[in-house]
Symmetry: none
Subunit: 272 residues, 2 copies
C-alpha cells in the first residue's frame, strides 16, 4: 500500500527482532522496512528464519548507513521512545499517530468510501483544504525505532517531528521492539475501517419471530404438563424470564429445530 | 489489576512464545496468565529466558489440563481465531472487546475519575442502577489462544462466548501468538483513559463459567439418557452447536438455576 508508513530500525541488534518486525508488518500490509547499520550485517539468517516467510515476500529491505540517509523521502517521522526526553515535541499515542497519517492520506479516505469527490486538477493552486497534501503527492510517514538495549539516541530523536509513546506498566515498561512494531502496524490497519462488532453471516440468520414463538409456546406447554409451574401466581414472571432468555439469544432456524428435538427427547417422545 | 482480563494459552508449543506473551502482558499491567497442557511442560526455561523477567514477577502462572478447568471463574471468553468458523457467535475486534470489558467494570470507571459515587451498601436490594453489575462482583473476561500451528479447535471455540479477530493482510495473516497477546494487552491499557465512552450493558451479570459448564454437562447427560443423540457420529457436532447457543446467551445465575429446574421438570423428576 503506497501510503503505508515506513518502519525504520536504527542499529538493531538481534536478527530475530528484525524478522519478527517484518512478519508483523506484512501481517498488516506494511512492506517498507528500512534498516540503519544493523549490528550483524545484512542479510541475516536469524531474521529470515524468524520472519515466517515475510522477508521473502517484502520488496527488498533497504539498508542505510545513517538515519538521515534512510528517511530522505519521508514527510513525517515519529521517534518511538519509552523514556521521556527533554525535548519540545508533540507526543503521540500509536492511535493518534495513525489518525494523523490517515488524515493526511486522501487516497485512503477515498478507499474508505466516504464520498471524497474527485478534486479539480487545478486545486493545487486553489487548494480549498490547506491542511491536506496536494493531490499527486503521497504523504509518507515513518516510525523510527532505536537499538533494543538503549533506544534511540537524542540526536536521532531530534531528527524526528514527533515522539511516539504508549501507556505502559511503569514498573515493567521495556517493550520488545518487534512487539512495538506490531502495535503500530495493527493500528494502521485497524483504523482504516470502522470497528464494527459483527456477527458472521454464515448460517447465522436469526429465526423469524413466529418460529421462536412456536417454540416458546410449546416449551411452556411442556413445562406445564411436567409440573414445572408449581406456584401458579409466579407463573407469569417465570414465563417472562424464560422468554427473555430465549429472545436474547438470537436463535437461528437450525437452533430452533434442535431445541424442538431436545424437548421431544426430554419429554420422552423419542422413546420407542 | 483485579479487573484485567486473563490470557489463556491452550496447548502452546514454543516456550519462547509463552515468555514473550508474559512480557507483553506485564508491559501493560496484566498478570493473570493461564496455560493449558503446554507441549513442553512447565516451568519452561525458554519461556523464562524470553520473558525478560516478567515470569519472575507475575504471580504464579496457573497450569491446567483442560480449557474447562482453566476458565471456571471467568464470565466472558473471547476465542481468538484467524480463520472464520461456521459458528453463530458475535465477532469482536480487539478494540471492541476491550470496550466491552471496560463497560462491565465499574471499578475501572470509578478509577477514571468520573465522580462515580460510593454506592449505599444496601444497594444490592435497592439497586438504583439496574443496568450496572452489583458492587463487589468482578466481571472477569479471558482471551483464549490456540496452539501456534493449528489455532483453537472448534470445541474450544464453542466453549467461548465470542470470537475475537483482527483485520489482517489476507495474503499473510498468520500472526505470532505473542504478538496477538501484545495487541490485546496494548488495547487494554490504551483504552483506559478518561475519554472512554462507557456503554452500560443491559444484560444482567453473567454466570461464572463453571455454572454454565455444569448445566451443559447435565443437559448433555439428560439428552443422552433420553435418546436424543440417535446418530453417534453426529453427536460431537450437535453438542458443539448446543454449546454455542448457550454460551452466546450470557446466562445469568438465575437463568442457569431456572434451566436446571426446567430440565428436572421435563425429565420427569418433578412428578409426584
Amino acid at each position: 500500500m503506497k501510503d503505508a508508513p515506513a518502519i525504520i530500525l536504527v542499529r538493531p541488534q538481534m536478527g530475530e527482532n528484525i524478522g519478527a518486525a517484518a512478519r508483523a508488518m506484512l501481517n498488516f500490509g506494511l512492506t517498507d522496512l528500512r534498516i540503519v547499520a544493523p549490528r550483524d550485517g545484512w542479510p541475516n539468517r536469524a531474521a529470515i528464519d524468524m520472519s515466517a516467510g515475510a522477508l521473502e515476500i517484502i520488496p527488498e529491505v533497504k539498508v542505510f548507513e545513517t538515519l538521515a540517509d534512510a528517511v530522505k523521502d519521508l514527510h513525517f517521522l515519529f521517534a518511538t521512545t519509552a523514556r521521556p526526553r527533554d525535548m519540545v515535541k508533540p507526543v503521540y499515542t500509536p492511535a493518534a499517530a495513525i489518525e494523523k497519517i490517515l488524515a493526511n492520506s486522501p487516497s485512503l479516505r477515498e478507499g474508505a468510501g466516504r464520498g471524497f469527490t474527485e478534486p479539480d486538477h487545478n486545486a493545487s493552486t486553489l487548494n480549498p483544504h490547506p491542511t491536506l497534501p496536494l493531490r499527486g503527492r503521497d504523504f509518507r510517514a515513518g516510525f523510527v525505532f532505536g537499538p533494543e538495549r538503549s533506544g534511540l539516541e537524542n540526536d536521532d530523536v531530534a531528527r524526528c517531528h514527533a515522539i511516539l509513546t504508549m501507556k505502559t506498566n511503569p514498573d515493567f515498561s521495556s517493550i520488545n521492539i518487534a512487539a512495538s512494531v506490531m502495535v503500530i502496524c495493527y493500528e494502521w490497519l485497524a483504523r482504516q475501517s470502522d470497528n464494527i462488532v459483527s456477527t458472521p453471516t454464515n448460517a447465522s440468520f436469526p429465526a423469524a419471530h413466529e418460529k421462536l414463538e412456536e417454540l416458546l409456546v410449546r416449551l411452556e406447554a411442556d413445562l406445564d404438563k411436567s409440573g414445572f409451574f408449581r406456584a401458579p401466581d409466579q407463573k407469569p414472571t417465570m414465563v417472562r424470564n424464560i422468554r427473555n432468555l430465549f429472545t436474547r439469544t438470537g436463535m437461528t432456524d437450525q437452533e430452533v429445530r434442535t431445541f424442538h428435538g431436545m424437548l421431544s427427547s426430554l419429554t420422552g417422545k423419542n422413546k420407542i
